[in-house]
């Protein structure tokens, strides 16, 4: 397939240089302030190592903040003049893996209804690609598919296929479709089982693809919906409220080299087929075998073949569901962590674009940041013990200490604060219930995520330890919709963190009692982790707190989904009674 000549654009390289400079400058300033904190003649190896961990951690923190700030300045810059609807055919792919078939197929039915309403159902086929391993769930799938087929009788065509052997997991599932049926389509919209995309968005995605023959993939920014628990609603609020700025920043920075997040995206079928046949990595899992975090790799491969991979944050109507409690979140995180650490092997893959390698490094750092902060805390505590009394605040080092604290807080909070301010002026806050409510929600979100941070740090450190010692996390299915955890499950999940924190607290009290207050923001949440995990897994707080635009006014496609699911449940009940 012939590829068009690449477009030249100097903005993207300039922005990339800018963000690298911003992150490194912050890391260096943090390191210098940290050195100034000791205010002694020299730095020994423990203090030096703590300083390096601080430099790397701060650089990473500044990178994230920089993307958000960049997004704030570029938000809303892209006036969308939609091209005419595509004439090419699009397959909407729904890979499923031991999911609840009724709710998954109801989403498909809602998308069918929307496409039918727009009169474009003949341009879109929907293929449910089952990798379900449970025979009982497979039988349920067949039953609910019969309902779906009746629903879509006069609309778009729906297909169902189940693989007996799940070669290559989700990426292998998509590949199996392409090698069997790919030539029948020009484009493929790749979804997850919990994805829901408005018909208008599906049409716009295909139209944009057809209008730009050099684009191989367009990624939308999925908004999280259907959160019920406190944990789920906080994740939903923060993802929705902050994502516009961060996505705009990412789009500017990535340019034509990504990102692809594995779902709620459209690909050019032939470009994807010729570029994205994933190899099985040599050696055993966790570092060898199938590529787990396949999305970044596929984006890199498309870019390697000269195709543009673009993020279009202005495309609305793209939704997904999020984890409802920390246990489900950690399960997903374990899988992503293993996949992202595989990038260590792909950093030097042949002929990749430099930025694709940077994106791989970003993927690795998103998990390696946790052991870095852990190392910093441990080394700083050891250094304090060795310095016996000279470590803590004195008149000579109060300045650097306060500046360093201010720097960390600014990097964490400044993007949030500016998004809040911007929202007050451009009217975005009204969609979330008004600036007052948003302010309370943001403050509560900051408190909650601060409490959760040490727990997630421990969870990620353990995941990395397991992976580095050769333990494969497998492919556990996602328990969607399940929320409230009992105390046994919570203790089983994070009891080890309590044991670790209790031992660390005893050591700190015995050997350096003056450090207890300093380390309490880290140790207290760890000691309370089972209660936090269990408490946040239930519905808590008033409805106006953490409210999102989708909660205030349900999108049409979600209304359709609810309507379909209700009617199917009624039919099911009636059939069961007869």
């Amino acid at each position: 397939m012939t590829r068009p000549a690449p477009r030249s654009d100097w903005t993207v390289p300039a922005l990339r240089l800018g963000i690298v400079a911003f992150a490194l400058t912050n890391g260096i300033i943090g390191y210098l302030l940290f050195r100034g904190y000791w205010a002694r003649g020299g730095v020994d190896w423990v203090e030096g190592a703590a300083g390096i961990a601080m430099f790397l951690g701060l650089t990473w923190l500044a990178w994230g903040a920089g993307v958000g700030l960049l997004g704030l300045f570029t938000l809303g810059r892209r006036p969308a003049i939609e091209p005419p609807p595509a004439t090419g055919r699009t397959a909407v792919l729904v890979p499923i893996y031991n999911e609840d078939p009724a709710s998954t197929f109801a989403r498909v039915a809602a998308m069918c209804t929307g496409l039918d309403r727009l009169g474009v159902a003949d341009r879109f086929d929907i293929a449910i690609l089952s990798d379900t391993t449970s025979d009982a769930i497979a039988l349920e799938e067949a039953g609910w598919f019969a309902q779906l087929a009746r629903h879509a009788e006069d609309g778009c065509r729906v297909f169902y296929r189940r693989r007996e052997i799940n070669h290559g997991r989700k990426a292998g599932n998509i590949e199996d479709f392409i090698t069997r049926s790919g030539a029948a389509y020009d484009y493929a919209v790749i979804l997850d089982a919990d994805s829901l995309v408005a018909a208008e968005t599906l049409v716009a995605m295909a139209a944009r693809m057809e209008a730009s023959p050099d684009v191989g993939l367009i990624q939308t920014v999925p908004q999280i919906v259907s959160g019920h628990s406190l944990f789920g609603r906080i994740v939903q609020f923060s993802a929705n409220y902050y994502s516009a700025a961060f996505a705009a920043g990412t789009a500017m920075l990535q340019g034509a080299e990504g990102p692809y997040w594995g779902h709620n995206a459209i690909v050019r079928m032939r470009a994807f087929a010729e570029s994205c046949g994933l190899p099985v990595l040599s050696g055993k899992p966790p570092f060898g075998g199938a590529i787990l975090s396949h999305d970044y790799v596929e984006a890199a491969l498309l870019a390697r073949m000269g195709w543009r991979v673009e993020l279009h944050p202005d495309l609305g109507g793209s939704f997904e569901e999020g984890p409802e409690n920390l246990v489900e979140f950690a399960k997903r995180d374990r899988r992503w962590c293993q996949g992202n650490l595989q990038y260590l092997r792909l950093l030097i893959a042949p002929r990749l674009r430099l930025w694709s390698r940077v994106v791989f490094a970003q993927g690795i750092m998103s998990y390696m940041a946790s052991p870095l902060w852990f190392a910093f805390l441990a080394l700083a505590a050891i250094a304090a013990d060795r310095a016996s009394g000279t470590f803590w605040l004195r008149p000579s080092n109060t300045g650097p200490a306060l500046l360093l604290t201010a720097q960390v807080i600014a990097l964490l909070l400044l993007p949030r604060l500016l998004i809040l301010l911007r929202g007050a002026f451009d009217g975005t806050n009204r969609l979330y219930g008004g600036t007052g409510r948003v302010l309370v929600s943001v403050v509560c979100e900051v408190v909650f995520t601060t409490a959760l941070a040490p727990i997630m740090l421990m969870v990620q450190c353990r995941a990395i330890w397991q992976i580095l010692t050769g333990r494969d996390g497998g492919w556990p299915s996602t328990q969607r919709g399940t929320s409230q955890l009992d105390s046994v499950t919570a203790w089983r999940a994070v009891g080890w963190i309590v044991a670790f924190a209790a031992a660390a607290t005893i050591v700190v009290i015995v050997s350096m009692p003056e450090a207890v207050a300093w380390l309490s923001p880290v140790l207290v949440p760890m000691l309370l982790s089972p209660f936090l995990v269990q408490w946040s897994s239930g519905p808590r707080g008033p409805k106006w707190l953490f409210q999102t635009p989708q909660e205030r006014s349900m999108p049409h496609v979600d209304q359709d989904r609810h309507r379909v699911l209700d009617s199917w449940r009624m039919i099911d009940k009636a059939e069961a009674a007869s």
Partner: protein, 50 residues
């Protein structure tokens, strides 16, 4: 759900994927690093002998 396996199979067989294969060639992602093993070992021995 009340199961009617025969009806399900009929529904499924009427909704099989279209037969339109498209090749998806394997991409090369692993770089073979040829370590200069012998030379490296020599340098190591020379260094340790000093």
């Amino acid at each position: 759900m009340k199961h009617d396996t025969e009806a399900y199979m009929q529904a499924l067989s009427a909704h099989q994927l279209p037969d339109a294969p498209l090749a998806m060639p394997r991409q090369e992602l692993e770089r073979r690093i040829r370590w200069p093993r012998l030379g490296f070992m020599r340098v190591l021995f020379a260094f340790s002998a000093r």
